[in-house]
């Protein structure tokens, strides 16, 4: 009888704990970078700060996948597309900020356009020199894409594996498209060689720390927002759709609208992650659309434990940390490890690390209650 309650309380408590840890780490790491002198043992290098920022972007991306997969049972293998579209939006802004400091010194056209002998800026690049407009588009484009795709797919009740394959095809098609030079997004090489953001030098420590903190803030905000949604009746409807969509329909819920709504919300989170990711890693290219990237995100969530928000974050951080270490020591082995992780998690750890913890904790507390 107390099981569900204790589980709810647990996730609530751990969520708060998570926010606290995130806050503490962010502030401490930032201070350790800016205040503590470089030769000190406690100094955190800018490289580490950027790496942490990158991890937090991945965590946000994982959160977006968890919201849709863990809570609503929609396995999207194409969330990398929304991430990359957001990233391209930011990249286009940063590209315009370069101005005449590019290799060719053309104040109007980015280097790759000069290289391709383009005479003028394509119409869809207009306005991207304005930060506000660029950010609006970086959210609007993935949002509209998610809306259109979701509307088409959910209205005609494409579910399960079919939907997963469709999302994969979506990101695959976008990848092919962005690889084309004629698209006007830099083709193969993508957008890179960024100089500054809102007038701040991207290489400066202060900018790096600020971006890291912004990422932490967005992650925290997204976490809280998602927790609020999942705690509301809307969240319960979403769970109902996951567990018995047709029953939910017979209760009078237009499930396709709920799914579209959640899909768009999730796509927006992914887009935000992409926006924050690009200035920190300094490049965006069509490789981000590759189906492998999207499906890797799914495994982060699976490792951490889907259906728990903090689990997705933990999974993203752990797997990416492992990836960084692994590829440094044994680059050949990483894909073996990743592949094995897929198999291991699905076979033996279906609820991920978070589920494993919760279960141990819950069973202990039940035993205590019985005693």
């Amino acid at each position: 009888m107390t099981e569900s309650r204790s589980m709810l309380r647990l996730s609530g408590r751990e969520g708060t704990l998570f926010i606290g840890v995130l806050f503490a780490v962010t502030v401490l790491a930032s201070l350790a970078n800016l205040v503590i002198p470089e030769d000190s043992f406690l100094h955190v290098s800018t490289y580490t700060i950027t790496l942490l920022g990158k991890y937090l972007c991945y965590a946000l991306l994982a959160l977006s996948v968890d919201v849709i997969w863990g809570y609503c049972g929609i396995l999207s293998l194409g969330h990398g597309a929304f991430f990359a579209l957001g990233g391209y939006g930011m990249g286009m802004y940063l590209m315009r900020q370069i101005g005449d400091r590019g290799v060719y010194g053309n104040p109007e056209l980015p280097d790759f356009m000069v290289f391709l002998n383009w005479q003028e800026l394509p119409w869809y690049w207009y306005g991207f020199d304005n930060f506000g407009f660029a950010m609006l588009m970086a959210l609007l484009v993935p949002g509209v894409l998610a809306f259109v795709f979701g509307w088409l797919a959910f209205r005609s009740r494409v579910t399960g594996v079919y939907l997963s394959i469709m999302t994969q095809a979506l990101t695959y098609a976008l990848m092919l498209a962005f690889f084309r030079n004629e698209m006007g997004f830099g083709g193969n090489n993508g957008l890179t060689d960024f100089k500054d953001l809102l007038g701040f030098d991207l290489q400066a420590d202060g900018t790096r720390v600020a971006l890291f903190m912004a990422t932490a803030l967005c992650l925290g905000g997204a976490f809280l927002a998602s927790r609020y949604i999942m705690g509301s009746r809307l969240g319960r409807v979403i769970l109902s759709i996951r567990d018995g969509e047709s029953r939910a329909r017979f209760l009078g819920y237009r499930t396709e609208l709920f799914k579209v709504w959640l899909f768009v919300y999730s796509a927006l989170l992914a887009a935000v992650a992409g926006i924050l990711y690009v200035p920190q890693v300094g490049i965006i290219n069509p490789g981000e659309f590759s189906p492998l990237n999207s499906i890797e995100v799914v495994v982060w969530v699976a490792v951490g434990g889907r259906g728990t928000l903090y689990g997705a974050v933990i999974g993203a951080l752990l797997v990416n940390y492992a990836k960084t270490r692994f590829t440094a020591i044994l680059p050949e082995g990483w894909l073996f490890a990743l592949g094995a992780l897929f198999v291991y998690v699905t076979l033996l750890l279906p609820h991920g690390i978070a589920g494993w913890f919760t279960r141990r904790f819950a069973s202990k507390s039940v035993k205590e209650a019985a005693a």
Partner: protein
């Protein structure tokens, strides 16, 4: 019999809270709530429904019987919007064409349905299951900000008491016994206060005692609600039914009181068997 009163009270609550009233007025001036006329459905050449005609009166308790494959479930699927039909018309009252509406719209009109297999949301508590079924706006933004009002909470409590699950309110629905799940699903129907209820084998898997309680519940519901029950358990049907409709190969074979139906020669031949 202590529970007609709360039900009565619930009916009045409808008038207290304007948003709880059904949006589309159902015109039942002819005293017929549901018209099913000339409906045919075929799957790959197999005629699941064959020119089916059925009229359900307002406030009636109707039992549908028929062998497996007679088309009972398919008929419910058509009425509740799950399966499109090849031809025919289905009207709710005089003016609402159900064939043009989707499942959620039909549900919001006040047509509730219990499935053959009990389907409750197993990962959520009994209370949450009832809350989801509550008669309220089913919109996204409303759901995001919805909180239970006092009367709504009371109402859920009443239903919990009615279906004997007050003790289990915080338990996960997945941990209930089969019979309890059946009850919970009935409770979910009741809490949404439907105009018309379809119950597909409501007493399957219930103990004799539970079955008896279900029969009592259905008997009291009739009059205020219109109830259509599909059941194989003849004893149960006899205990609740006023009018029985026999389906055979996708169309109505006979209709009447239990005794009339049982003595109908064709029914004896195709369904009840000669030993009855």
């Amino acid at each position: 019999m202590s529970w007609p009163a709360p039900l009565e009270e619930m009916r009045h609550r409808d008038r207290v809270f304007p948003h709880l009233r059904p949006k589309a007025k159902v015109d039942v001036s002819k005293n017929v709530l549901l018209y099913v006329e000339g409906v045919s459905v075929s799957f790959d050449g197999f005629k699941a429904l064959n020119n089916l005609n059925l009229y359900i009166n307002e406030g009636e308790l109707r039992c549908l019987i028929g062998a497996n494959g007679a088309g009972k479930t398919t008929m419910m699927d058509v009425i509740t919007g799950k399966t499109p039909c090849d031809e025919g018309t289905v009207y709710f009252g005089q003016s609402i064409d159900l064939l043009k509406r989707s499942e959620p719209e039909i549900a919001q009109l006040g047509i509730g349905r219990k499935f053959q297999k009990p389907t409750v949301f197993e990962a959520q508590s009994v209370f949450a299951n009832l809350e989801l079924a509550l008669k309220a706006s089913k919109g996204i933004w409303y759901s995001l900000r919805a909180s239970l009002s006092g009367p709504q909470r009371d109402r859920i409590d009443e239903i919990l008491a009615l279906i004997n699950l007050s003790e289990a309110r915080e338990q996960l629905a997945g941990s209930l016994s089969h019979g309890q799940k059946q009850w919970l699903e009935i409770g979910m129907l009741l809490v949404s206060d439907p105009r018309l209820l379809f119950l597909d084998e409501p007493v399957a898997g219930m103990t004799a005692q539970e079955t008896e309680r279900t029969a009592e519940l259905l008997n009291t519901l009739a009059g205020d609600h219109t109830v259509v029950v599909v059941e194989h358990d003849m004893e149960f049907v006899r205990s609740i039914a006023r009018t029985v409709t026999v389906l055979h190969q996708g169309s109505v074979l006979a209709e009447g009181t239990m005794d009339e139906v049982q003595n109908h020669p064709e029914v004896i031949e195709v369904y009840l068997g000669s030993d009855e």
